[in-house]
Amino acid sequence: MIYLFLILLTGIISIDRNNALNLMISRPIVISLIFYLFVENSSVIILTGILYELYGVIDIPVGTHIPKDDSFATYCSSIAIAFGSVNNSLNFLLMVLLSLVLMYFATLAEGYTRKINRVLYNKVENHITFKPNYLISLGIAISFLKGIVVYNLGAILLIILLNFVSLEADYNIGLYACILITVATAYFIDYFEIFGYKKYFFLLCGFLIGWLIV
């Protein structure tokens, strides 16, 4: 049952991200929370989701630009964590490293689906009975299948690679995740337009207030 759920989830994530819905089911933090609530109750999954959300939220889908597939990285990492392939800090860092590399290919795959859509469109564009419903349904189906194949292949590959490396290390994943989140935060802050030092002032105010209330 859980496998069926995961397969369906990958298809829906791919559609939501690229072709339809835009309900934000494909956002890394949402994927990680779904995993946390329904698959494996591990806070590392949420930290991974936050890391990839920070990574991907600044890469926005403007015009023809295809943003880096942060959903793919989150899905693969969450699967690896849920299936027990990440059991120490070393595996965690390796997981981040590998999923960043694999993400490149997942992003490339989206470019190909757009090219397939174009071929389909060019085939029927001059037909008298032009049926947009047909093209749209086909495009969504292709995206759904792409999600299932690419995401799950990526997850399997990641698990195989992680299981291949079996080194002993400490279990201080939270610390390392926080370091990487700090790196991503610097990029996140730079992304905002409020000029000069103002943005650091707001960040610092929030930090101090947060420090006091926790």
């Binding site: 926005i60 403007v62 015009g63 023809t64 630009h65």
Partner: protein, 163 residues
């Protein structure tokens, strides 16, 4: 980027890539649209002004007024000059200097055009004009500032093949 003036050919003029990409990345404060059709169109001027961030000033010129206005001197801040098509850029080629970064963004697919990249489609006349410009200046195809430059190189060879 060393060059502070950017000439960009983009048939959508001001859109998401320009605002979220170029304007934000280089903190561009002056934008000039050079287009005979839009010049004097109050509604379009209002629309483009309404979508820009507060710190951006927009001015719309036709080719003639832009030629008078633009001296090619270095501006204090980054400046973006938008052209709708290759022809407009070509017509103002005498304004181009080495200090200007020339960039092709999006020139959409239309019938009987040749695909240069997935977002740039040109007809033979546009290719010829671009090749001529390319002989003197570096021209790149680039959707967003952080993308890799796609250099335009072999159009003359390509044009010969077409003949």
């Amino acid at each position: 980027m060393q060059k502070k003036i950017i000439f960009r050919v983009d048939d959508r003029l001001i859109h998401g890539q320009v605002i979220e990409g170029w304007i934000k990345y280089y903190k561009i404060s002056h934008i000039y649209i050079v287009n005979d059709r839009i010049y004097g169109d109050v509604l379009q001027e209002l629309i483009y002004n309404s979508v820009l961030p507060d710190y951006c000033n927009l001015e719309i010129f036709n080719k003639k007024t832009f030629r008078t206005f633009f001296s090619g001197e270095i501006f204090d801040n980054h400046t973006l000059v938008l052209f709708e098509n290759i022809k407009d850029l070509y017509d103002l080629r005498d304004l181009i200097t080495e200090k200007i970064y020339i960039n092709i963004g999006c020139v959409a697919s239309r019938e009987h055009k040749i695909e240069i990249t997935d977002t740039v489609f040109l007809d033979l006349e546009e290719l010829r004009k671009l090749s001529e410009l390319r002989e003197k200046y570096n021209i790149y195809i680039k959707k967003l500032p952080w993308d890799t430059n796609i250099e335009i190189k072999n159009f003359y060879t390509f044009l010969k093949e077409m003949k």
